[in-house]
Symmetry: C2
Subunit: 572 residues, 2 copies
């Protein structure tokens, strides 16, 4: 949805006022658009670009030194009027003619075309150029009918750099046309955008589907398919562009991975890993790639990939310095052409303290127990997430699965290497903390690590050590987090568990029976957390969120306690 | 929704790989986070920041010269683990101690706190600092319990600049704590975010409602209200922050207007206009304000406002150069502290050619006709939008309303000033084109302007001139757009209208009867457009979209023709 506006019909104009206010260093407002705020010398070709609003940073965000001289900005998704195009262009003109750039849409073609005619009547040399990079919008043999999308940025950047370098209009136009001929874009969309004041999206993509080749105003795409994974989407985008390598193209490409509005930077970075690998596998060198929002469509969900095949003329222009609200390239940095970032290898521990045969056998039992635990928590992941979402951020199930899965793997590796009980449990503890992160990760890691310190790699573990370990886990967790019983944390379940376990062991019960009694108590206590009144304290941030709900941490603690059957086989 | 991922549980790590690949100039990947790619001298205090993922550019985007030395990044919405915080911090350390910054969340407090203890054990001087800027999360008298949101950026930027300037750890910590004490944020949310792999949003805001003070992980806010206009939201945000001006605060503030993910730049710019006006009215000077995405929450819809009250110590640090993926401030630009952008006044025409009494009377009739037309199009706006949305971008109704309303106002102004028929219609034409923009704007503007050229400000208009004007409008529109009957444009209705009008007038019918016959023909033709097979040609981009649907332009032309009753009163 588009929510922030006072009057829908002044949305675009209000946005331009705000933009020029914030970016007063680079742009200033004029009727119908924006001009550079910085002085521009007479005799420089003016690059004037434009189109409808709703696509920020297109087009006002492209204005600044090294890039465009002015942008003419229409209403949302509507071409600016002929009169405003003409008046903005006249103000930007510095006596050396104008390159007039816009996407290839009917309204823009009409208005920019009429403005060009009028400007010629004013005695100004004008070269209109409609950008045609969207391969989904017309077949390869009819490129002149294609729409302009994120390729606008690449072509206008190159034209702007050529103009800034003092090239005459003929050259600026030739280079811009060359860049346009070498630029291809292809995109997918997951959901439509909503015009300011509209109550429903302009168009819809069915839930679970993605629209391949959909235009930035919702123009029909090529087909709809179920939503694919990032690697598959990367393959789709890359393949379609590599199917249409322009004539005389080399191996160096400018790349723009563009988000349409609600598809976030982190998603684009995930997609980039796969896109970059495919492009590099195809032998291409990726020159100063851009990943972010460069041609949006209000709050549309989706993304597009743009390639501009460079050559010795175009590459320096793509890399040349510029200073706009969107894009700042310094004089010394353009030459970075990235290579793949190597994977960060996990540092794996491979040696363990010597263990007795009996302790190594218990280590294997602990590893089996961690595997049971991980399986149980994975099964409960959604339910734990739902409980957590009522009061917290809903990721408790995911965190517990991540942590326990990593812990089980680490414990298995340690046990396989012959480690003893203390080392196996310690390995599980560290892996849990590292991989789970968050509050539950640090608490579980600390608790298991503390418990492991009551065990040994030599002497077989007995029931007293297990009870002592549980007690030490509780003590270290409460010391760290400051939570007391009643604060609605896992301590609400852990505390009665530890008390029952210790009392039962002290009373001479075998470990299996003592553990069963303690688990039952933990489960009962976790059910009761919904009725607790949270108290203020160091843990009060969590406590306050959970008023009236079961605490997910207590529930998962109880679940874990009930699951670790392997421990029950310990000799006692 | 979060759509782009391969495996939900590697989303955060994959995003960091992609981020470091794209931004290899400034950052490099390490286990658990990112480090500066640029050399940092021994003896500089290290600023190490971090927290969960899902908040990009927080925290990895803050790393670079003049800002943070490293970021530790956990899983989505989950604190990084103690071990990774420690290992990243050790790598960033340059022998002068570490400022360790994070938002005040339970998991972060635990993990960063434990890491700080361990680092002290390693012999490194570490100062942990939990950011507490979110005024919605706890009362003013309990600031230590507040959460950290976009104020992280302000505090870390200031700390980073202090460290870069060579200040010792005591000073960096003092300045960072001062900045935190002077920083306040307040936000609203319109809709929740979706964790990677989740099928439903983490939390929901009821449709039409906004959640005031909602946290960036969905922590409960203060209250829910119906969604307000931008000016009212601005007032809410500004007032809440000005209610809590920190002690010893002056009149100069750093400002961050932050989008949470799916609230777009243009919306933020609209909101900025109102926010900036209120802050300036309160006597504040806005120093290098930032409007954009600086602390997101995946794809959450909403925004927050942050103020940091500056003084002679803090302001130079806020303005100091930095070079990160998020924020680039050059050495010479920080001193801009913006003032309000003046409104751009519409240039209004005030003098008209002399008109005869009869023509001035007809001018008033034309103005009345334009008012009828604007009212009719406004009533039909939603319907025209729906028709257009089936094949186009759904803004036809809005464009026609904007254009005809402006045309009616301009015609009224001209008629009131005594202009003749030709001038009134010409004024309407220009206003329509300027205000409507887009394809329909240029076409209607051109058509009305052409028609006006067949009228006069002297001799009263007769039926022949009206028919000639309609013919000239058709000719100029087809010459401009290249559309022929059957291309599914307004020409499909205009062409039969003009032919019928001319034939009827030629046959001696009075204008009223001829116009009525022509209007009927236009309406019939507009209904028939759904059955047309669009042809390729200059208008084919539009034509292809509209296969199987009525053409909105033809429908609105027919509606307009049927509405202009005032013309029928012309003497014939």
């Amino acid at each position: 949805m588009t929510h922030l506006f006072d009057k829908p019909d002044t949305f675009a104009a209000d946005a331009m006022r705000g933009y020029c206010d914030v970016h007063a260093r680079t742009v200033r407002l004029t009727q119908g658009g924006v001009l550079r705020a910085t002085p521009t010398p007479q005799g420089k070709v003016a690059v004037v670009v434009g189109g409808g609003s709703g696509h920020y940073p297109a087009f006002a965000g492209y204005v600044g030194q090294g890039f465009a001289d002015a942008a003419v900005t229409g209403d949302v998704f509507a071409s600016p009027s002929t009169r405003f195009i003409r008046s903005v262009a006249v103000k930007a003109h510095r006596g050396a003619g104008i390159l007039l750039g816009y996407g290839n849409y009917a309204g823009d073609v009409l208005n920019f075309g009429m403005a060009a005619e009028q400007l010629r009547g004013d005695g100004i040399d004008v070269r209109p150029l409609a950008i045609t990079d969207d391969v989904a919008s017309a077949p390869a043999d009819n490129q002149a009918r294609r729409r302009g999308v994120a390729g606008d940025l690449a072509v206008f950047k190159i034209a702007g750099a050529a103009a800034e370098a003092g090239k005459p209009l003929d050259e600026v136009e030739r280079l811009a046309r060359l860049a346009n001929a070498r630029t291809r874009s292809f995109g997918v969309a997951f959901a439509g955008c909503t015009l300011p004041g509209a109550e429903a999206p302009l168009f819809a993509v069915p839930p679970g589907q993605m629209a391949i080749g959909l235009g930035i105003h919702g123009e029909p795409g090529i087909e709809e398919t179920p939503i694919l994974g990032a690697s598959e989407i990367a393959a789709l985008l890359v393949q379609r562009l590599l199917d249409e390598v322009p004539a005389q193209a080399g191996q160096r490409v400018a790349v723009i991975l563009n988000g349409l509005g609600s598809t976030k930077h982190e998603e684009l970075f995930v997609l980039w890993v796969a896109v970059a690998a495919l492009l590099r596998d195809a032998g291409l060198t990726l020159v100063a790639p851009l990943v972010g929002e460069f041609m949006t469509s209000l709050d549309m969900e989706g993304c597009s990939l743009t390639l501009t095949w460079l050559d010795d003329e175009l590459e320096p222009l793509w890399l040349a310095p510029c200073d706009t609200a969107t894009l700042r390239i310094g004089a010394d940095e353009g030459l970075v052409s990235v290579e793949a970032v190597p994977d960060v290898a996990e540092e794996e521990r491979t040696s363990w303290p010597p263990a007795s045969t009996a302790s190594a056998a218990q280590g294997r039992l602990i590893a089996d127990g961690m595997a049971f635990l991980a399986a149980a928590l994975a099964s409960a992941e959604d339910e734990l997430g739902r409980i957590d979402a009522k009061a917290g951020d809903g990721d408790h199930g995911q965190g517990m699965t991540r942590g326990s899965t990593a812990a089980a793997a680490a414990a298995q590796a340690a046990a396989t290497a012959g480690a003893g009980a203390a080392s196996v449990l310690g390995a599980a503890a560290d892996a849990w903390a590292d991989r789970a992160g968050g509050t539950s990760g640090v608490i579980w890691g600390l608790g298991l690590r503390s418990a492991s310190q009551c065990l040994s790699d030599e002497a077989p573990v007995d029931a007293g050590q297990v009870a002592a370990g549980a007690k030490k886990a509780l003590d270290s967790i409460t010391a760290l987090g400051g939570a007391k019983p009643g604060d609605k944390t896992l301590v609400d379940a852990l505390d009665p568990f530890v008390r029952t376990l210790s009392a039962s062991v002290d009373a001479g019960l075998p470990l299996a029976a003592a553990w069963a009694a303690a688990s039952k108590e933990a489960t009962r206590a976790s059910d009761a957390t919904a009725r607790l009144t949270p108290r203020l304290g160091r843990a009060s941030i969590i406590a306050e969120r959970s008023r009236g709900h079961r605490d997910a941490g207590a529930v998962s603690l109880a679940l874990a306690a009930s699951t670790i059957h392997a421990l029950l086989d310990f000799p006692t």
